[in-house]
């Protein structure tokens, strides 16, 4: 199985969910930003060296990004958020937006609402739908469960599992290890920018020091 992204110790292949764990300041966001191209760093994307590609170039190769804090385009409506993020021609773009609205019923209910009016959970779904507009092969998520109600968290995690089952490669950065490990196949733990643990879901879940590591020890 070829890895869709290879950077340092991290690699993710199609159909798997890799959890990127660690406390605050451990380096999770930095790693994601390096993959996207906001920070410099050597890496391979979709089998090729991507180190010199710009952010726009990498994203157009097939990356979807759900950032920490969701960062939806507040002054745009739900539908506009989706359409603005798409590089498809008009008709296809409209159809794809319709697909997303159908896939996320809580968005489909109010496509004309300004994004800044949405609740945290709705914004998270919008951020996810937005990332999916260009049919990415690699999905990067940064602490998507932060501040969400348990039901929404469960829904989100279930969708991620479904996407992976459909072939998506997913890199899930989370501070709350238990949540991430409930859907991930394997994971690694970062601390101060370095990898301090790797393992399968079972291995990590059984690790007695995991809580300490999450707290940043």
């Amino acid at each position: 199985m070829t890895a869709l992204v290879e950077i340092g110790d991290v690699s993710v292949s199609a159909g798997e969910i890799v959890a990127l764990l660690g406390g605050n300041g451990a380096g999770k966001t930095s790693l994601l930003e390096t993959i996207l191209g906001f920070r410099r760093g050597r890496l391979r994307l979709f089998g090729e060296d991507a180190t010199s590609l710009s952010v726009e170039q990498r994203v157009s190769l097939g990356i979807g990004y759900v950032p920490a804090g969701r960062r939806v385009f507040g002054s745009l409506t739900v539908r506009e958020n989706l359409e603005a993020s798409s590089s498809l021609p008009a008709a296809e773009r409209g159809r794809r937006a319709d697909e997303m609205l159908a896939l996320f019923p809580m968005l489909g209910e109010r496509p004309q609402a300004r994004a800044w009016l949405l609740s945290g959970g709705q914004q998270q779904m919008l951020a996810l739908a937005r990332a999916l507009m260009n049919k990415p092969r690699l999905l990067l998520l940064d602490e998507p469960t932060l501040g969400l109600a348990p039901l929404v968290v469960a829904d989100l995690l279930q969708r991620l599992s479904a996407m992976a089952a459909g072939g998506m490669a997913i890199l899930l950065a989370e501070q709350r290890a238990g949540l991430a490990l409930s859907v991930a196949d394997r994971g690694l733990v970062l601390s101060r920018g370095r990898t301090v643990r790797t393992g399968t879901r079972a291995e990590l879940a059984a690790d007695p020091e995991l809580a300490d590591l999450m707290a940043g020890g």
């Binding site: 406390g23 605050n24 300041g25 945290g120 348990p150 290890a177 809580a211 999450m214 940043g216 020890g217």
Partner: protein, 502 residues
């Protein structure tokens, strides 16, 4: 910012002397005019240069001074300018930069309108002439202008080379940090605006004396642009900035007499060039060329031995709650910090740790509850007042260009006071530095400081803290000795994100 230095002092003293001795009356008038513009520029450096405030009213204040001198005599002028300056500053104290610029621009436009249209007072478009400004326009004016200018420049250099300059820099570059160090931004703005305005008014009065006529041009926007340009060209904060800029502004039109209008164009181009490529201005370039260089602002270092703490004894939060938008950032939080103890605050991302520090400092208001310092209520006090009562704070990121974490801490300690709030002091530190930090923290405790430390390094906190408090989504879920808290099931669940079953 550097002090004046002998070279520049000599230049300053020589200029009027040479003018009096060697120049014809025409040349002397030019030198007087240089002094006048430099005075206006010096005043501008206070507000624009030191505070970084986008002030567009300096030209208008110059004009008010000119009219005041024509109408009521020279000594009235600085006062006449200082009063609207004080009013404007008081009204605009809290405005953010782009609104402050607009307010000063509106004020300047208003003054200009009055000058143009209040015919009975200002002579309208024709202005005023033939008044007795109280000074003849010859050598005595030159001496007075330059005496005041030199005194002003030397004083400015002295004052701002030291702590005052540091404080101004903090206000300019990191206003939140400045507030937590006890610096009252509102008062600074008021004082500097009034002083700067008074200088402009004085300069305006001198210009009325020099030219014998006052017309609405002295309140116009082009003069404001000239003031701004001369300060930037010369060196926005450099003590000689105003003088050098003014010299260029007065000499250039003479030198380029054939290309009459073009000097203004050249001046504007030069200003743009300076902003883009030589922000330290001509004075700074001169210094660099001389090899004098500008010394880097001193980065505070940790004191060799810590003084014993003197200040408040106990900080108590009682059932503090705060909402941000629809989210409960803090819910019913009660905790205390006393001198001589180290308390650690842990929690997952988004748990409210930084918010808690911010409300203690007064950077954010609370919705419910009380914050007491030795029994006094802090909830409604502004940040700088709270800092002055003896609470110091460090922030996560480096506060100023060229700062390090220990500089942050040193600044906070230098404030005095006895209670310290540290926001992730260990982030980014290597192992050896963490050990040193632990040593320092223990020293702080020995010297009777009270420390509340937010961090993610649980090993460090366990080793150093007397007790730990754990936050989860705004609530305290555990408090006690480090060992107890680490073993607490709720705490482990919070960090692992396990089902909130327990």
């Amino acid at each position: 910012m550097q002090a004046l230095g002998r070279f520049w002092l000599v230049v300053l003293l020589l200029a009027p002397v040479v003018a009096l001795v060697a120049l014809p009356p025409f040349g002397q008038r030019m030198v007087t005019l240089i002094g006048i513009y430099a005075l206006m520029g010096l005043g501008y450096q206070l507000v624009f240069g030191q505070l970084g405030a986008l002030n567009l009213a300096q030209g208008a204040l110059f004009g008010i001074g000119a009219y005041a001198a024509a109408l009521a005599g020279l000594p009235v002028a600085p006062l006449a300018a200082a009063i609207p300056a004080a009013l404007a500053a008081a009204l605009t104290l809290r405005l953010q930069s782009h609104y402050f610029a607009l307010a000063t621009l509106a004020l300047a436009s208003l003054v200009n309108l009055v000058a143009l249209h209040a015919e009975s007072l200002t002579g309208g478009a024709n202005g005023l002439a033939g008044f007795a400004a109280g000074m003849s326009r010859g050598p005595s004016l030159l001496v007075v202008v330059w005496a005041i200018l030199i005194a002003g420049v030397v004083l400015y250099a002295r004052l701002f080379a030291g702590t005052l300059g540091e404080r101004a820099r903090l206000l300019r570059e990191a206003p939140l940090v400045a507030a937590t160090l006890g610096i009252d931004a509102g008062r600074w703005r008021l004082v500097l605006f009034v002083l700067g305005g008074a200088l402009a008014g004085l300069a305006g009065a001198f210009s009325a004396a020099l030219s014998g006529v006052v017309s609405p041009e002295v309140t116009g926007f082009p003069l404001m642009v000239l003031c701004l340009s001369l300060v930037v060209l010369g060196g926005t904060r450099h003590p000689m900035g105003a003088v050098l800029g003014a010299t260029l502004a007065v000499c250039l039109p003479e030198l380029l007499r054939e290309l009459q209008g073009a000097w203004l164009l050249g001046y504007a181009v030069a200003t743009l060039a300076v902003v883009l490529w030589a922000p330290e201005g001509l004075a700074g370039l001169c210094d660099r060329w001389r090899g004098a260089g500008s010394p880097k602002p001193p980065v505070p270092g940790l004191p060799a031995s810590l003084p014993r703490a003197a200040g408040p004894r106990r900080l108590a939060l009682q059932q503090v709650s705060k909402r941000f938008g629809g989210v409960e950032a803090l819910q019913d939080v009660s905790l205390s910090l006393e001198r001589g103890e180290i308390v650690g605050l842990i929690g997952a991302n988004g748990s409210g740790k930084t918010t808690l520090l911010n409300v203690i400092n007064g950077l954010d208001p609370i919705d419910q509850g009380a914050i007491l310092l030795d029994g006094r209520h802090l909830e409604r006090l502004p940040a700088h007042a709270i800092a002055r009562m003896g609470i110091a704070r460090t922030f996560q990121a480096a506060m100023l260009a060229g700062d390090s974490k220990s500089a942050n801490l040193a600044r906070a300690l230098a404030r005095g006071g006895s209670l310290l709030l540290l926001d992730e002091p260990a982030a980014g530190l290597a192992d050896e530095e963490r050990r040193q930090l632990a040593v320092l923290l223990r020293q702080l405790r020995t010297q009777d400081y009270g420390v509340l430390i937010v961090d993610h390094d649980i090993e460090l906190l366990s080793a150093v803290c007397d007790r730990l408090v754990c936050l989860d989504r705004g609530r305290i879920i555990a408090a006690g000795s480090p060992a107890e808290v680490r073993a607490d099931a709720h705490v482990r669940a919070s960090f692992l994100g396990l089902a909130e079953a327990a």
